[in-house]
């Protein structure tokens, strides 16, 4: 606990369609790590993120970041979101419709700060030539880039992202994940990302926590968590990304990137439509049969 940068212990009553559900979460995160939070809808993922940001106050709990107490219900302290050193990327982007791209970024710039960071971020997110457009004149991917850049303007030490790429097509998602990783390397922030995309978890996260019914049911590295998943005991599961796919007789020869290594896989022909270069996949080799299965997300 002493080594960790972020410590979260919260208890809350979640209002769900099925009534009130008790939520109890304990999480720790080391500096510079990327934590993915996943789990079914309504499990409390977004609520947790909003509580860490200070947009929602849990009934009881304690949140400590970089030795600053953000929340301590026993002492009645709760730091306003303005004072927490965070960048938040909202699911709906939450761009200010009346401001241009550049003005959206400048909005977050603290008074008296060098505006070079705005120009740098516009360049890094390839938005320089769209700087004077309004958000309504941008595509989804462009809007998401503005949201990402805007969240980085204040040089936050903790980035919170709520399903940031869910509404984007595969290519754009891939591109933005790459951009996010680049920013992460460059700015060295710690990050929590809510996502449903297993490919995204493997690409981005050091740690993954699965939340169900208001509790963390599993936490660890993506490989640990998904291999430990009791619903898949005994089965061999691999996650990867297709690099190339060649048909040979009645089989597919697939080169794939699995845990950062290139692997050759031999797969049945019926998977041809899924094995397109750039696609991510989850394959499951059951213990009790020789048939490879593709798990769809």
């Amino acid at each position: 606990m002493s080594d960790s940068l972020l410590d979260v212990h919260i208890k809350h009553s979640l209002q769900t369609v099925h009534g009130v559900m008790p939520m109890e979460i304990a999480l720790s995160l080391a500096k510079g790590q990327i934590l993915a939070i996943t789990g079914p809808s309504g499990a409390g993922k977004t609520t947790l993120l909003r509580q860490i940001a200070g947009l929602l106050t849990p009934e009881t709990g304690k949140i400590v970041f970089e030795k600053d107490v953000w929340l301590d219900s026993s002492k009645q302290t709760s730091l306003a979101p303005q004072l927490r050193n965070i960048g938040f990327v909202f699911q709906d982007y939450a761009l200010f419709p009346h401001l241009t791209v550049e003005e959206n970024l400048l909005f977050g710039l603290p008074k008296g700060c060098d505006r070079n960071i705005v120009d740098d971020l516009l360049t890094a997110t390839e938005l320089s030539n769209l700087a004077h457009r309004k958000p309504s004149q941008l595509s989804g991917g462009q809007q998401q880039r503005v949201a990402l850049a805007r969240a980085l303007v204040r040089k936050p030490h903790l980035m919170l992202l709520d399903e940031p790429f869910a509404a984007l097509d595969y290519d754009m998602r891939y591109h933005l994940q790459d951009m996010l990783l680049r920013f992460h390397r460059q700015h060295q922030f710690t990050m929590i990302i809510v996502t449903h995309d297993i490919g995204e978890i493997f690409r981005l996260a050091d740690q993954v926590a699965i939340i169900e019914n208001g509790k963390v049911i599993l936490q660890g590295t993506p490989t640990e968590v998904y291999a430990k998943d009791p619903s898949q005991t005994g089965d061999f599961v691999i996650f990867g990304e297709v690099l190339s796919c060649v048909r040979q007789a009645d089989q597919l020869l697939v080169s794939a990137l699995v845990e950062n290594k290139v692997r050759q896989l031999t797969l049945p022909l019926n998977l041809a439509s899924e094995m397109i270069p750039g696609n991510t996949f989850t394959l499951r080799y059951p213990m009790d049969s020789a048939r490879v299965m593709l798990i769809r997300h």
């Binding site: 200070g54 947009l55 979101p81 303005q82 939450a94 761009l95 309504s136 004149q137």
Partner: protein, 224 residues
């Protein structure tokens, strides 16, 4: 046609609308986002002019403003102001009477904005005050414009309350709607028609302008 009642009508409507705008912005924000008990009571009170006959409001205001009751007596002793049958009294009555027309559309406009806009502003370090003026208000321009104009038009069309507490003093409280009533009573249909036509034409043009401006504002906001 004596233009004085028309002039008085538009002066009253302008002053009332400006005062109401200043009052309604914080009130609408408070109703839209405030967490407090008794919100229902406040909301109902603000909405009363929508359902009550103007004569009821006029009657109670007449009593309140009268120097024989404590409020009127207090105003007169502190400010030296008599509110019955005076223009300031008319302004106060109009402000109360048109309150819901200003507050409700602005509150609805504020509530229709996604909560994430406010929250994004907070996470970008802006306090509630800055968020209100720099994010929320610029994004409810159509609602504010509508509220202002509806309030203005409603005050122009006021009759019952004005008659009850303002009476019929030329140049002081005799607004166009009262003047029309007087002319009809005196069987001067021509003069009544002059006032009525002017009111009709001006209010129609105002509403037309507002709706076309709003349509354009809303179109700009829609993604293509």
């Amino acid at each position: 046609m004596n233009p004085e009642p028309l002039w008085l009508t538009f002066k009253l409507a302008t002053i009332t609308s400006v005062i109401l705008l200043v009052l309604a912005l914080p009130l609408a924000y408070w109703l839209a986002f405030g967490k407090f008990k008794g919100r229902g009571i406040v909301e109902s009170l603000i909405g009363m002019p929508l359902v009550l006959p103007p004569s009821v409001i006029g009657f109670y205001l007449l009593l309140a403003f009268s120097p024989s009751y404590w409020f009127g007596a207090w105003i007169e002793s502190v400010f030296g102001l008599r509110l019955v049958f005076s223009f300031p009294g008319l302004v106060i009555a109009s402000v109360l009477y048109s309150l819901p027309f200003m507050v409700y559309p602005i509150r609805a406009g504020l509530q229709s904005l996604p909560a994430s806009l406010r929250e994004a502003s907070y996470t970008l370090g802006k306090n509630e005050w800055e968020t209100f003026f720099k994010v929320l208000l610029p994004n409810c321009k159509p609602a504010i414009l509508t509220a202002f104009v509806i309030t203005f038009a409603h005050t122009v069309g006021e009759f019952g309350v004005v008659l009850m507490i303002g009476g019929n003093i030329p140049g002081v409280t005799k607004v166009a709607s009262v003047a029309i009533y007087n002319e009809v009573e005196a069987l001067n249909y021509g003069a009544a028609n002059d006032y009525a036509m002017v009111l009709f034409a001006i209010t129609f043009v105002i509403l037309l302008l507002v709706y076309s401006i709003n349509n354009r504002l809303l179109r700009v906001r829609q993604p293509s």
